[in-house]
């Protein structure tokens, strides 16, 4: 397998903590994933209209780049990028009429038939690495850390690209268990944080996200782990506002799933870029004695 890595726009800036902690963890596992050259924005959301093919050009172009550069598999970290690329790939594989239209439109590119495999990092860990190997790489087991695994929408739905069952997923749980953490079940694990509504209806987005955090802490979680920079914004960065708005709001440490992996693998702390998180993320790890050194 020749593995290409598609980062997506947000991972180069606001979610540098997701990218760097993941790449550091891959290094520990001895896996080589090379960033695609000349990748472009995937468009963040997949086009849901039958007559709107133009918005599928961007993700397909990325997949063509991957194929041209000799990668048979593209690995992604951001849930939204994963969803958009995987759905565009399914379309190119299965819908002959639309595939022909898109291939004709991009006449400067080689024809594409959906041959590159798009995988999410969690998928890759389960199918290609295996949880036993992840367990073996753990140097600092996350014992005593109760984490609510938050899948959100785009990792699970629609079914044809979902990494696990849309209503009863277990992959994230297995991941946390492999790291030695306790996965806390909560009803909102597969609910939506309101996604881009933080732009259009910030008040609604705040309430929806607050309810998710309340659900997680009511079930006994110390923290919440997620995979999407937009979920991180809604559930993490907006917590300051939640504390102002809702009387019973409490600080809930938020981690990217890759943060927890890097901590458990004993990766140097600076690769986690915790400066992009709220302070509670580092504080909880210190409290649980899971960090040996913390940068000033």
């Amino acid at each position: 397998m020749k593995l290409g890595y598609y980062p997506g726009c947000t991972l180069k800036t606001k979610a540098k903590n997701l990218e760097d902690s993941a790449l550091a963890s891959l290094e520990v596992l001895g896996i080589e994933a090379t960033e695609l050259e000349r990748w472009n924005c995937c468009g963040a959301v997949y086009s849901l209209a039958d007559d709107d093919l133009i918005h599928i050009v961007a993700p397909v172009r990325d997949l063509i780049r991957a194929q041209q550069q000799g990668y048979d598999t593209v690995i992604t970290l951001c849930s939204m990028c994963y969803n958009t690329l995987a759905r565009a790939n399914e379309l190119m594989k299965n819908d002959e009429e639309k595939r022909n239209t898109l291939n004709d439109f991009m006449d400067e590119e080689p024809d594409y038939f959906g041959d590159v495999k798009v995988v999410h990092f969690l998928n890759f860990l389960e199918d290609e690495v295996g949880w036993d190997k992840v367990k073996e790489a753990v140097k600092v087991p996350l014992n005593g850390l109760k984490v609510a695994p938050y899948y959100g929408c785009t990792l699970l739905r629609p079914k044809e690209v979902g990494i696990d069952h849309p209503d009863n997923p277990v992959m994230f749980h297995k991941f946390l268990n492999a790291l030695g953490a306790e996965a806390v079940d909560f009803d909102s694990a597969t609910e939506c944080c309101s996604a881009y509504q933080s732009l259009a209806h910030p008040d609604i987005a705040l309430k929806v996200s607050y309810d998710i955090l309340q659900d997680a802490t009511n079930k006994g979680a110390d923290a919440l782990a997620l995979a999407c920079p937009l979920c991180d914004y809604n559930l993490g960065r907006k917590q300051g506002k939640m504390l102002e708005m809702f009387e019973s709001a409490n600080e809930v440490p938020i981690y990217y799933f890759t943060h927890l992996m890097a901590v458990a693998f004993g990766v140097p702390i600076d690769r986690n870029h915790f400066e992009l998180n709220r302070e509670s993320s580092v504080e909880l790890l210190k409290l649980k004695n899971l960090l040996s050194e913390v940068p000033a």
């Binding site: 963040a44 951001c78 929408c153 739905r157 609910e191 996604a195 732009l199 259009a200 309430k207 929806v208």
Partner: protein, 135 residues
Amino acid sequence: MSLLIALRTINDEMRRKIKEISGQDISKCFQCGTCSASCPMEEHLQAPPRRIMTLIQFGQSEALDLLNTPWVCASCHNCMVRCPRGIDITRVMEAIRLLRLRQNINQVEPSNLQPEEVVDLPQIAMVSGFRKMTS
């Protein structure tokens, strides 16, 4: 909300366009309400998705235009994976949005966003939000 269903209030063109854009057969909906029960935004909607499906079935475009439902929808696909009739309601919501956006009516005006907000928003929030809310 009272509804007058008469020949003059039925907009057949709207029904046809939504079917064309979404690729979904709205007449298959039998009003079980699973979509409404599954919607994470339900408490913030002026009408639940089940109601939206009825309004389309009866071609009630004026009533539909007044509701915030398609604009508060976050395209999470919960309704879609659970619909016992196999209707992709997420695509129906997209079609309703596009009917308005394609008349060059923006739901969010990018120039009205506050700079301090823009600085903090991740790129995927902006790209996805503008894709869903602007023409």
